[in-house]
Structures are given as structure tokens and as C-alpha cells.
Symmetry: C2
């Protein structure tokens, strides 16, 4: 069932949310099919008028960025009383059937492809989506720094880049799949090296 179908419940004039879902759904279909996303194609596939489309999405870039984020959610705040290392590792992997935090692999590859083609889109997607999804982990790291569990001189954003980078490396450079247990094992070992470099040693925490 498509996103549009799940919200197309009532007869009569479509509600605004219905149109939004139809537009995003059509855009995501084009992305998943590997077709170029143009306003004309979105109009054609969504059945929404060009005027309605323009009114909602004056920029194709923000539309594509929003469509890429369908189905992804802002993760809940990480608890402070559990195993933070394990919680962050789990949040980065998001289970074994996906690549990173809930992305089907082919859509992940399309997202990177679009980002490499269009830096404006890449930056828009970063600002509106990736950076927001990272925020919870960064706040949890910051609290662990304040508690003295992690080194006082750490920048949580830099720690996140380091921890996440090794997963992207598998997908973008090696061309490996995170569904492969050997690949996940490699990522987990790299994660442990980084974590060891983050933990406060006796006497160094302030």
C-alpha cells in the first residue's frame, strides 16, 4: 500500500494532507524507480495539479529531500541509565534488514547518488533531516561528557561523524551490505576502537 492510499480515506475534495501524501508518494516512486524527478513527472504520477504542487513545494530540492525521508522518524531520546555505547550502536544500525537507521538499501544508494549529483539537495537534506536525526545521540553524548563518563574535551558532533563514518564507508566505498554479519562485525569492532578513544580515563575526566 502506498503512502497516498493509506491516507486517502474520504470521498469528496481531497484534504491538504492527502495531496501532500500523494505528491511525496509520487516523488518517492520516481526516486525508487531511478527516474529523474521533474515537476512534470511528479504532476503526472501524483495526479495533483501543477498549481497545487507549486503552492506546496516551490522548490524541487526540498520536495526530493522530504520524499527521501518518508518512513524515517526522529529517534527517541536515548536513556541515561543504560548502556549508552550499545544504544548508539543500535541507533546507527537500526536492525539488520536495512542500511542505516531505517533505509532500504536501494533507496540509500539513490539518496547518495542524488546527493552526489546535486550539492544543493545534499545540503538541504542535511539541514532538514540528517542533522536533526543526529541530535538525540549528540545530546546523549553531551550528557555522558558532563557525567564524566566520556572525555571532557570531546565534541559530540565529531564523535558522531567518526562513529557513523565507518558504516558509510562499508556502503559507499566497499560496496558491502550491513545485512552481512561479517560487515556488521567489522563495524562493531571499529565502533569499539572509537568508543575506547572517547571514554574518560581515571584522572582525565573533569
Amino acid at each position: 500500500m502506498t503512502i497516498a492510499e493509506t491516507v486517502r480515506r474520504r470521498p469528496g475534495r481531497p484534504r491538504d494532507e492527502d495531496l501532500d501524501a500523494q505528491i511525496l508518494d509520487a516523488t518517492l516512486q520516481l526516486i525508487d524507480d531511478g527516474e529523474p524527478v521533474t515537476l512534470g513527472r511528479v504532476v503526472e504520477r501524483s495526479g495533483v495539479s501543477r498549481a497545487a504542487l507549486y503552492r506546496r513545494w516551490p522548490s524541487l530540492t526540498t520536495l526530493v529531500a522530504a520524499a527521501l525521508d518518508i518512513g524515517r522518524t526522529i529517534p527517541p531520546e536515548l536513556p541515561d541509565d543504560g548502556d549508552l555505547r550499545a544504544a548508539i550502536l543500535a541507533s546507527l544500525t537500526g536492525g539488520h534488514s536495512v542500511t542505516l537507521a531505517g533505509y532500504p538499501e536501494e533507496r540509500f544508494r539513490q539518496r547518495i547518488r542524488l546527493a552526489m549529483t546535486d550539492r544543493t539537495l545534499q545540503k538541504a537534506y542535511w539541514d532538514s533531516h540528517v542533522s536533526r536525526r543526529r541530535a538525540g545521540v549528540e545530546r546523549a553524548l553531551q550528557r555522558a561528557i558532563h557525567r564524566g563518563e566520556l572525555r571532557a574535551d570531546l565534541d559530540p558532533a565529531i564523535c558522531f561523524d567518526l562513529l557513523a563514518g565507518v558504516f558509510y564507508y562499508q556502503l559507499v566505498v566497499r560496496g558491502d551490505r550491513l545485512t552481512d554479519p561479517a560487515v556488521m562485525q567489522r563495524c562493531a569492532e571499529a565502533f569499539d576502537i572509537a568508543w575506547r578513544g572517547m571514554v574518560a580515563q581515571d584522572g582525565t575526566a573533569t
Copy 2:
């Protein structure tokens, strides 16, 4: 001056190396122009016959992988008597005018785009090029492990993934440039965290 021009020195029947350079040069031009690389286009742009092209490059995938590697070299072996941390950091950045180890940024973005489009190409490029360029750093890490400077339980390949991943994250996810000093600073700090997690502590080295 193109690669073909630099080797096109003699009149008369072209030597094999001349044809190779013409083919690789034409392929790289197509990649840099963002045009789809097909056998027909390579024939057209290189002036080499289709038969000669097939004889040299039975697969378009290996041709594209080879073209992407033009101008890149296998780095020299890292010395064991210097600052290994600094030498590896320098080998990963390759100077500030490029992205990673000698790649102009736009070609880097094209490379990732092609890799995301075609996993066979991605794997071919990994096997024939990336994995070979990593080998020197991995050997240097292995020697440092043997000397007891780095932890005995490290896997050099995993260390490389971790150290390199943070640079890829800047380019592929953030859409930042390594020519930006703030970005390089971020990478260097992340590198230091990882390195701290790799260094043998007193009593843990074997």
C-alpha cells in the same frame, strides 16, 4: 594537455600504449562531463576502433574503474621511524586542494555516483584500486602493532575503515569540502579520537 597527448609522440602507427591512453582519456572525459559511458561514446570520442577497444577492455566496468584511477598512484611505503599518526593523516588527506588522496572533488563525486548506480563497478574499483592503495597504510599499522605501539588486538583493515570513514562522511553526508579548514579540523579531531583508541596502553601491549 590530455593523457593521450602526453604519450602521442611519434608519427606512424600508434603504439599500444598510445591507444590505451586515448581510450582511458576519452572515458575519463565522459565521466568528468557527467555523460553516460557507453562503448559507442568511447569509440566516438577516442577515435579508436570498436575492435581495438573490445580487445583491450572486454568489460566497460573495468574500463571505467581504470579511468577513474588515472593520475592516482599507489602511495609509497610509510616509514617506520617517523610519526606514523601524522603520516597516515597526511596520506588520507593528500593535501588541501583535493578530496581524498589526489582526487579532484568533482571526479570524486562522479565516482561515488557511478558506484552507487552500479555495484559491479563499485566492487571492481574496490578490488583493483582502493584496496591496493590502502595496503601500504595497513602494513604500516601492522608493523606498529608488532612493535607494541598499537594494541595487539587491532585489525589494521578495520582501523583503516574507521580512519577513512570520517573523511567520506564529510563529503558524502555533510556535503562539505576538505578544502575548508574547519572541516579538516573536524576530521583531524576525529582522527585523534580513533588513534587514541588504537594506541597500546602500558601493560596491554603484547
